[in-house]
């Protein structure tokens, strides 16, 4: 049972795609086939949902405080307890300072994109579901968020391209990444990693999409300042530098 001779080749490919282990050329070929093979695409989505279900089913220990009682239970009571209480005032102060210096660390390419966007921030439900594309369940979106360094671009299933802008650490310890989506309605957004999945926290839509949503929206300027309230809510750190980001990608965003 150590070889792959008894394993269905499609199963191997779906699994490798979900785990982001395909080479760029393989990803392109596989996505080309996905677009033409509904059964394969259906299996991919089902397996992706199974992974999420599995993560939820075993997620409880990740949310329990490591307090003194727990340390005693595991024979670690002479080790220092890990506080899961965040000093909000300190974090907010740090975040405010980061916001003030925000323009200094923006990627030039994003500035160019931003100039073309009359932005709307979807405040309530961050993702506008128009039925055509759902980043949360898109394997190529997940792979891009997981594997691409900032400044890189990759094509998604629906033909649009995603560009990774920067990475930050949120106040609750999660890692978050800002991205841009090409298309008739360019979008920029932020996704954060929970478990081993990336979930979209916010999207900023182009003006052409005003008709498409009836959710609460806040007019924003024609730049990334539209995402500032989201960064503030996340209590995001300064952008992670390229070296650390590379290490995080290598470690699959595990600390």
């Amino acid at each position: 049972m150590t070889g792959s001779s008894s394993t269905n080749p499609d199963d191997l490919r779906i699994s490798a795609y979900l785990d982001g282990t395909m080479l760029a050329g393989e990803v392109q070929d596989f996505e080309f086939e996905l677009a033409r093979n509904p059964a394969l695409a259906e299996a991919l989505l089902r397996w992706q949902a199974n992974d999420r279900l599995m993560q939820q089913a075993f997620d409880a220990p990740m949310h329990e405080a490591v307090d003194q009682d727990m340390l005693v239970r595991f024979g670690l009571d002479d080790a220092p307890a890990v506080s899961n209480v965040v000093d909000l005032s300190a974090a907010r102060t740090k975040r405010q300072a980061a916001l003030l210096s925000r323009k200094a660390w923006r990627w030039p390419a994003v500035g160019a994109l931003a100039a073309s966007i009359a932005a709307l921030v979807v405040v309530t439900n961050p993702f506008q579901r128009d039925g055509s594309f759902d980043p949360d369940s898109s394997a190529s979106f997940q792979t891009a968020m997981q594997d691409l360094p900032s400044g890189s671009v990759r094509r998604l299933e629906d033909g649009r391209t995603i560009g990774l802008t920067l990475s930050v650490s949120a106040g609750n310890g999660r890692y978050c990444r800002e991205f841009s989506l090409s298309g008739a309605t360019p979008q920029i957004g932020i996704a954060c990693r929970s478990g081993s999945r990336w979930s979209v926290e916010a999207l900023v839509n182009g003006a052409a999409d005003r008709r498409a949503t009836d959710e609460i929206q806040t007019a924003a300027g024609a730049d990334q300042a539209a995402l500032d309230p989201v960064y503030a809510r996340l209590m995001a750190s300064d952008p992670i530098d390229a070296g650390q980001e590379k290490r995080l990608i290598s470690s699959r965003w595990n600390k």
């Binding site: 049972m1 089902r46 599995m54 890990v82």
Partner: protein, 173 residues
Amino acid sequence: MSIKGASPAISDVRAQIVALLPRLRRFCMAIAGGADAGDDLAQATIERALSRIDQWEEGTRLDSWMYRIAQNIRIDQARSAKVRGIQVDVEALASVQGDDGRSILEARSDLAAAQSAMAALPEDQRVLVALVVLDGQSYKEAAETLSIPVGTVMSRLARARRAIDNHVHGAVA
């Protein structure tokens, strides 16, 4: 296992184990089949790790070393009890957010199906799902943790996902 360099200070290691504790508990819960059995396994793993800390090579990954210990204990337990399957503790499932009682029950049912699917996997596949799908390890890291080739990781994971899909949805394809 070869030992290189000086033994790490026990207090440093304890602190690292505390930081690792949530992930270790999740890993143990996944391979042992329930929250209580998982915590028992995590406890045994920590006890064994601390008693053999001189075998851990400082600078290498503590999580991989401890996962390996947990897996070995689990295999020993399964052999000695001649366990062919594991019990799923549905009541011990994580609390699930829902709009009403029905959605909570449905979510519980889904999560129970996921736990049941995990429990039905062979040990060698279950540990890989725990390492890669739950813990987010790369194939290379999982291969190193288990001392198996990357190709074996790939094939076992693919078979595990096929089995999980069949268990949760029935044999679709």
